[in-house]
Point group: C2
Chain length 209, copies 2
Amino acid sequence: MARTTGSDGGRTEAAIRDAAINLMARFGYEAVSMRQLAAEVGVQAAALYRYFPTKEELLFTLMREHMEGLLAAWEAVRPATDDPRAELAAYVRNHIRFHVERRHSTHVSNMELRSLSRDNLTAILRLRTAYEKELRQILRDGTEAGVFDVDDIGLTAIAIIQMITGVIVWFRPDERLSVEEVVETYLAMTMRLTGAEKPGERAHVHANA
Amino acid sequence: MARTTGSDGGRTEAAIRDAAINLMARFGYEAVSMRQLAAEVGVQAAALYRYFPTKEELLFTLMREHMEGLLAAWEAVRPATDDPRAELAAYVRNHIRFHVERRHSTHVSNMELRSLSRDNLTAILRLRTAYEKELRQILRDGTEAGVFDVDDIGLTAIAIIQMITGVIVWFRPDERLSVEEVVETYLAMTMRLTGAEKPGERAHVHANA
DNA sequence: GAATTAATTGAACGTTCGTTTTATTATTTT
DNA sequence: AAAATAATAAAACGAACGTTCAATTAATTC
């Protein structure tokens, strides 16, 4: 046989992306074969090469779009304020919501960096760095304004991202907690971590020596 | 050729473990072939099978010993006190020190769970759960004693472990920060996260409404 | 309705994979 | 020094891998 009835390039490509994200999130990039992926899509392996030149290019496309989507989502919700607390809250909320909604592609983007060629890796890391830089800037602004109490900005930024990305390891949308409850709990922990004063709050804790 | 001069089973097995941890941490379990591993050790691939029956059993052994080592290290340093703050501090310090010292096996243990068979996975997760349970107990004790202010114990425990394990992603021992500096910074963040009162401290922050 | 383009199949390519088998040599035991 | 055992090499197994190529059919254009 050859071209099948009702076949459509756009739909097939979307199906490939979808299946690839699911399979690679579950079994890992290396463990998923092009034949397995094709079977999931419902085509022969050769058909995949009409849409992606190599397996790695497929992975790279998925990761790049994930990172670009994350940055775009942040740009879209970034508040027009100069209160670092509001900015930090928006950052954390966006991060968790975005990642919970896209657990599988987050998993792939976080776990499969080592399967990229040098150039592709560099491109992804550049996007990641740009995203983390936003958080560092918020922490710096807040520290200078005196509303955060952060010792090491770079270290704190990494710790926060690590913590709030960890949600996707355990969170499943149908459990006792809703997404919004989780978001607020993590936000509260983040605020504590940065020593953020709540709006209306004036003083830090003082030890009674 | 066959048996080589000076060959020794004990040394070869140790060399296999060592090379396996390094290679698998760098390239991932699936991406490392038995031939590549053998070449790193300096033997033929067939020789590996004298020490480990399958590739997966080798992985499982490495992961099991890592987790057992982590639990053993904690048992060894667990303080004989009922102050949850001291216990939490000991837990965090031990966790970071252990993981920084064993970056590669930590990486393997965290990343390669999906390459295990069901039974082997269950065994590793059992160890992991036992380890996390220790932290939850500390948080629970501290919350009941009123020295911690934790909203959701399970969620906080996961967030803390995620945060303090994240050290190995970026920390390299020869940089501007020493291990002990990093340990203390993360400890401070953990204490803030849990709302821990410092010894000698009496009150929490109060909002000025 | 003929020509063109899009989408896919089926077979095949050479390579590498984890693993097994058999033979061979070094070392230890008797 | 002979016998037994430990440690390895060398070669081979069938299966699976990513990828390519030629053929074929569906849909679209002219």
